[in-house]
Symmetry: C3
Subunit: 273 residues, 3 copies
């Protein structure tokens, strides 16, 4: 099923507008190119809405939030909503500071967000108003395991329903849900957390996948999560003795570059619950 989703990305080559952080922005651009999309980054208030209008999706990432870019997020978000473009929010570090938590919440309140993609600590900070975030990483107490999975699925479904959006929670097990249906995904590799930007790259992929499959937001988000996880598995398998997280980062982007719908379907490990 996810085959078509990915093939549509390569066929449509959507242009994706990213208002994102300066830490992982280069990786986001390269992973978008790797999956067949085109990136454009633009965060100035004088062009943010204009750029959104020529794109197929908008990806807002609050990883290095600033006074200058917050208004651009809202302006671009409104333009995106007017055109019914998919709008992806990555609430990086929500729970780590009031600025991050409050800005993410306000974005969800004032904009129609199509997909929220974060780790469980970030999603909890948005849902419960308090977070155990360890900076931009999930708190160890929040880790998704087989034991906590059922509760986490229920929690994520409720949050998705309440916010009327698709929610993709990534961790040891990933959950993607629109509030009704949920996918639990077991692709990926624990060492991906040792690379900066795997979450940010995934959010960019979600934007590209959604841009090319507008009527299938849930499946697009799930397909992107699977693609990133599978790339992580393939990249990890490729690591040599002296390789570390820098090589791993490169292998993951390269795995996305060499992926297609068929490979994605063959490697996908998910359940529909």
């Amino acid at each position: 099923m996810f085959k078509e989703i990915f093939d549509n990305v390569r066929a449509a080559a959507p242009l994706v507008h990213n208002i994102t952080n300066y830490v992982t922005v280069n990786d986001c651009a390269n992973v978008l190119l790797a999956c067949g999309a085109s990136p454009i980054m633009a965060d100035d208030i004088d062009e943010a809405a204009d750029i959104t209008k020529i794109c197929g999706a908008l990806n807002i990432n609050i990883g290095t939030l600033s006074q200058n870019t917050i208004p651009s997020m809202f302006a671009a978000g409104k333009a995106s909503n007017e055109l019914s473009h998919p709008l992806i929010l990555d609430p990086v570090g929500a729970g780590a500071s009031a600025l991050r938590t409050n800005t993410a919440k306000k974005l969800i309140e004032e904009l129609e967000v199509s997909v929220i993609r974060g780790n469980i600590s970030e999603i909890k900070a948005l849902a419960l108003g308090a977070g155990g975030a360890k900076g931009v990483d999930a708190d160890v107490l929040d880790l998704l395991t087989e034991e906590t999975l059922e509760n986490a699925v229920s929690f994520t479904k409720r949050f998705a329903k309440e916010k009327n959006t698709v929610v993709a929670v990534t961790g040891a097990i990933d959950i993607v849900t629109d509030g009704e249906t949920a996918y639990t995904i077991r692709n990926g590799n624990a060492n991906m957390g040792k690379i900066t930007g795997t979450g940010c790259m995934l959010s960019s992929l979600v934007a590209a996948f959604a841009a090319a499959n507008r009527e299938k937001l849930l499946e697009s988000a799930a397909a992107a999560v699977i693609a990133m996880g599978l790339a992580g598995e393939q990249g990890f398998a490729r690591l040599g003795e002296r390789d570390g997280n820098a090589a791993f980062r490169q292998y993951i982007i390269d795995a996305v570059y060499n992926m297609n719908g068929e490979i994605l379907d063959a490697g996908a490990k998910y359940e529909r619950v």
Copy 2:
């Protein structure tokens, strides 16, 4: 002929001031070091002109334009002009938003730009006031081919003459002209478009080459275009089965690192028209 141009870069090790975007800035810094130059990035209005004064060239790239950095571009540009330093402009995404098109035009109007380096859509947006830019990539309708080459050369020559500058248009075939003489260059590899930043890196190289060869702006720009294209060919030849755009990016910078004037001359594919 281009041998000396490159050898001069390694001999002079010019310091290049970059006011550039935060997407590809790390690659620009590393490619400058790879060719033998030294990078410095500084975009605050309180130091932009000061930094320009200690450098050998200024590279202005509008890839992530902002209210904060636009005044710095003009301030540094004026300081650069006063010292008769080479000033390179990369009008990233001109045509994609009014802010980009208008800022690039104003920079060309108010500053003496030595070299404009862009794709054909960007150059058309500056020349004709309307662009078919697909974000930061050239529109498919604009692609330079053997069929459209003659027209494109004439068009680029006219634009260079009118603006009294060297223009380097890069694509499947590259054109570098000062309005009188033009080089058509057939180095490069189509997959370079699958990496973010090959254009930005090239503009940084043009700045370094021009800094070390001030009296030969046209040849410096042509040599940099050839060097980048040749690095793309060499990098592409090195790609393994599981490599993708992330590996390709690294191989290109490494190819520049291992290049010298002799290699450049041996691999150059150009005509003077």
Copy 3:
């Protein structure tokens, strides 16, 4: 001795707040993950102090200084001082512009800086009020050699004593001193200067090492300098014929990823003077 210092980093996994430049920020994040720490980047005045409070150390790097981030540096620095967190300053390009020199001096004056990490030109600019900095690289006249080492050690000790801080001067030979004791370190490889960000990455490592070893600032800084130098040696040894500075950068981060206390101690080349 340095074994425990490094092992403590992996055991404590400290969260490090970086207010840093956008050129090398991705490498800083990845090298922090490589050594076992976690990075967070946050430079907006509305969250800088909040983020510092949840972290174990603060790393201030002035590589792309701006009006927006200078107040955040002071705000985060004060919050860091109140909590007695280690505060690391990397005065990138001090001496290259008045803005950089003056900001770095003011940071040292108004904050209690635990470790200053720079090249000899930058440190001279701060100590003597005038610099021979070649942009962000040390001036060739300032290069640390066996001949100039004794003078350089005395000079660095005096500066450290005067500023009541640890000073780590890196170059062909590195000097780390608290004003009383000094380590001279001969790890590293001259080609590290051909990669952007080895200095910035080192400063991030110093912050991580100090966060996990609060009572041993001098030894933490020395251990980080040795670790980075050793990673440079190991990375250099791994370079193939077609590799250049881009591969070297990756190999260095990967070497840190694969390092542990034992490897560090075995490879350390230092004297206590």
